[in-house]
């Protein structure tokens, strides 16, 4: 019995590792995805941001002559270039300029009577460049305003501080590590669940519908080994690819964290990565029943299909069934409770999230592990029953 299962298992493993699709979904993507999204993506975004920020932006000043010294201040800020246009709004939309500031023509007269003057800054929020230009303009104008206040106070022989009773300073007391865990805890559960699913998916389709399509299902079914042993060998193969995909992702994640810690630990000025060994242990523990569940469900779904293509169209809706509940980790404020602990995929997603954040509730962990194991056992049973059905194996 064990000999047969081992025989089938070894053949299936040999077979699928010669398939490029499996290798990509089982090995390449899981290894690359974590470093890419934690280090690669932010680095890329940061460098794009810095680049845009450093670029010279074009701004227009309406009635600039009314505010003496402002144009000089803008130009000496170094990163803004003044351009003359008639209709600033359309110029912004046409991206001829990035932002504009509008002064009233009677600025000086109204300043003299201590009127409070509204000075609009126009920009296009959908453009990064425009937003940067707006911020720079605002800084320059704020300084300019400060200058006016200071000179007014000076005329009256008063101290500058008079107009500034206090300064507000906002400080984030969360450590860089805590910030890192927070970010990771939102996305990692989702990523791991999806990788576990896609790791199993191609193998499941190849070993069931793919075999029917290529005519090997009939070949293998006439061999004298019981069908359930064949089904078990196939299930174990699918499970293996799912587990390998997940474990490689976890290893890659741990390595990325270790690397980022050794290189100063910081991804940016206020985020650092940190995942504790206990969190890794919980993730590994939870992914075993989860991978079984995915494997058995995908195997059952793909068994119902006659061709690989048909299997793909059957499994895509199931992907959505997994993706949506898995995204619960991204929604802030949802915490595990007894009911959520038995909802498939939602429970795993939240459990991984809490583990990464360092919250371990043994009760929840036990319930989630047990319920997922029960669901997996049911799915394995269904997959085996389907494997015995003529109408599933031989469709006319």
């Amino acid at each position: 019995m064990l000999r047969n299962i081992k025989l089938v298992y070894r053949k299936e493993i040999l077979d699928i590792i010669r398939d490029r699709r499996t290798v990509i979904s089982m090995i390449v993507i899981p290894i690359l995805i974590f470093p890419l999204i934690t280090v690669g993506l932010p680095t890329l975004m940061m460098s794009m941001m810095t680049k845009t920020k450093g670029e010279l932006q074009k701004v227009a000043i309406v009635n600039g002559a009314a505010a003496p010294g402002l144009e000089e201040a803008i130009e000496s800020s170094g990163k803004l270039q003044i351009v003359n246009t008639d209709s600033v709004e359309s110029a912004i939309l046409d991206e001829e300029i990035d932002a504009a500031i509008v002064f009233p023509s009677d600025l000086q007269a109204r300043l003299d009577v201590f009127d409070t003057i509204s000075v609009p800054i126009l920009f296009d929020e959908t453009e990064n460049k425009s937003e940067f230009a707006m911020q720079k303009l605002r800084n320059v104008v704020t300084d300019y305003r400060k200058g006016i206040i200071e000179s007014r106070l000076a005329v009256r022989g008063l101290q500058t501080n008079l107009a500034e009773p206090f300064q507000v300073e906002i400080r984030n007391v969360a450590s860089k590590e805590k910030m890192g865990s927070f970010m990771v805890s939102m996305f990692l559960p989702y990523i791991i669940l999806i990788l576990s699913l896609t790791g199993a998916m191609y193998t499941a389709m190849d070993l069931t519908a793919g075999e029917k399509e290529r005519g090997t299902m009939e070949t293998i079914l006439v061999s004298p080994i019981p069908r359930w042993q064949l089904a078990t060998g196939k299930f174990l193969t699918i499970f293996t690819t799912s587990v390998i995909a997940t474990m490689l992702a976890i290893v890659s994640m741990t390595a990325t964290v270790a690397y980022s810690v050794s290189s100063g630990g910081a991804l940016s000025d206020d985020i650092a990565l940190k995942i504790t060994p206990a969190a890794v242990a919980v993730i590994v523990l939870m992914m075993i029943p989860t991978a079984s569940l995915f494997s058995a469900i995908l195997m059952s779904i793909s068994l119902a299909a006659k061709t690989y293509k048909e299997a793909q169209s059957y499994t895509s809706p199931f992907m959505m069934v997994v993706i949506l509940p898995s995204m619960v980790s991204i929604i802030p404020g949802i915490e595990l409770n007894l009911i959520l602990s038995v909802i498939p995929f939602v429970n795993i997603s939240l459990c991984l999230k809490e583990a990464i954040l360092g919250n371990f509730s043994p009760l929840h962990i036990a319930i989630i592990f047990a319920s997922t194991a029960v669901y997996a056992a049911i799915a394995i049973f269904v997959a085996h029953r389907l494997f015995e059905r003529e109408s599933v194996l031989f469709s006319n």
């Binding site: 077979d15 005519g215 009939e218 070949t219 079914l221 006439v222 004298p224 019981p226 194996l393």
Partner: protein
């Protein structure tokens, strides 16, 4: 060696409702005998052979291989069986040698024995130079040879061949036909299905004509021709199944 007793198989079909694919079919095939199952497309040949190979269960009736009930002890029955059809495929990503050895091992051979037998079969079938070639890279003829080798590696006592020459060119069909004849010489009980009349006439000791699930005649090619007063098997077949259906 091969026997069916009143087997009947009914399929539930979405469009056609209940389809009686095989209706109360009984026959026996002895050791050293080639029995041909002759019938039009859809006559029930594949279903009959699948029941014999324990791939499907009959709704009623019994089937035996070497006296073993295929429904009661499918694994034991299949251990005596070589099964080859026009549609049984190969694992494309396995090498020819791996494919053949795998089926030897599934039949209980140890690695060493499987490798010795695979080597010998590949030599007989002129496959040795392709031993390390992946099955999906082989020509149609060589693929069929690998299929023959994987069927023969356990040296089965019973052979069930469902249209084994379908889609093959002349050379590849000849390989299969030669193999059927030589296995007959080695005392195997062979049942094979076809809708090609002259192939059946040339190869078979006895022929069973199956039509719409019913076994309507059984006998040697000579007997069938005599019974219908026909000059060749084609005419005999048309005579047996009736002119109306033979026209399409």
């Amino acid at each position: 060696m091969i026997e069916t007793r009143n087997i009947t198989k009914v399929f539930g079909d979405k469009k056609r409702g209940q389809v009686i694919a095989v209706n109360n079919v009984s026959f026996k095939v002895m050791a050293g005998e080639i029995f041909g199952l002759l019938g039009l497309n859809g006559a029930g040949k594949t279903t009959t052979l699948r029941i014999l190979a324990a791939l499907m269960k009959p709704n009623s009736g019994q089937a035996f291989l070497c006296g073993i009930d295929v429904v009661g002890e499918p694994e034991k029955a299949k251990a005596r069986l070589g099964f080859l059809t026009g549609s049984t495929g190969l694992y494309g990503r396995l090498k020819a040698r791996e494919m053949i050895e795998y089926f030897g091992k599934l039949h209980g051979l140890d690695s060493k024995e499987a490798s010795v037998r695979a080597g010998r079969l590949m030599e007989i079938l002129d496959l040795s130079e392709f031993a390390e070639t992946r099955c999906d890279k082989l020509s149609t003829g060589n693929k069929q040879k690998v299929s023959v080798a994987r069927t023969m590696i356990p040296d089965p006592e019973v052979l069930i061949l469902d249209e084994p020459t379908i889609g093959l060119d002349v050379i590849a069909s000849r390989t299969v036909v030669q193999f059927i004849n030589s296995e007959k010489g080695r005392g195997k009980a062979i049942i094979f299905s076809t809708h090609v009349m002259h192939e059946a006439e040339k190869l078979c000791d006895r022929i069973g004509v199956i039509h719409r699930g019913n076994l309507i005649a059984i006998g040697t090619p000579a007997e069938l021709k005599e019974r219908t007063a026909a000059a060749d098997m084609d005419d005999a077949f048309v005579e047996l199944v009736g002119h109306d259906v033979a026209q399409h």
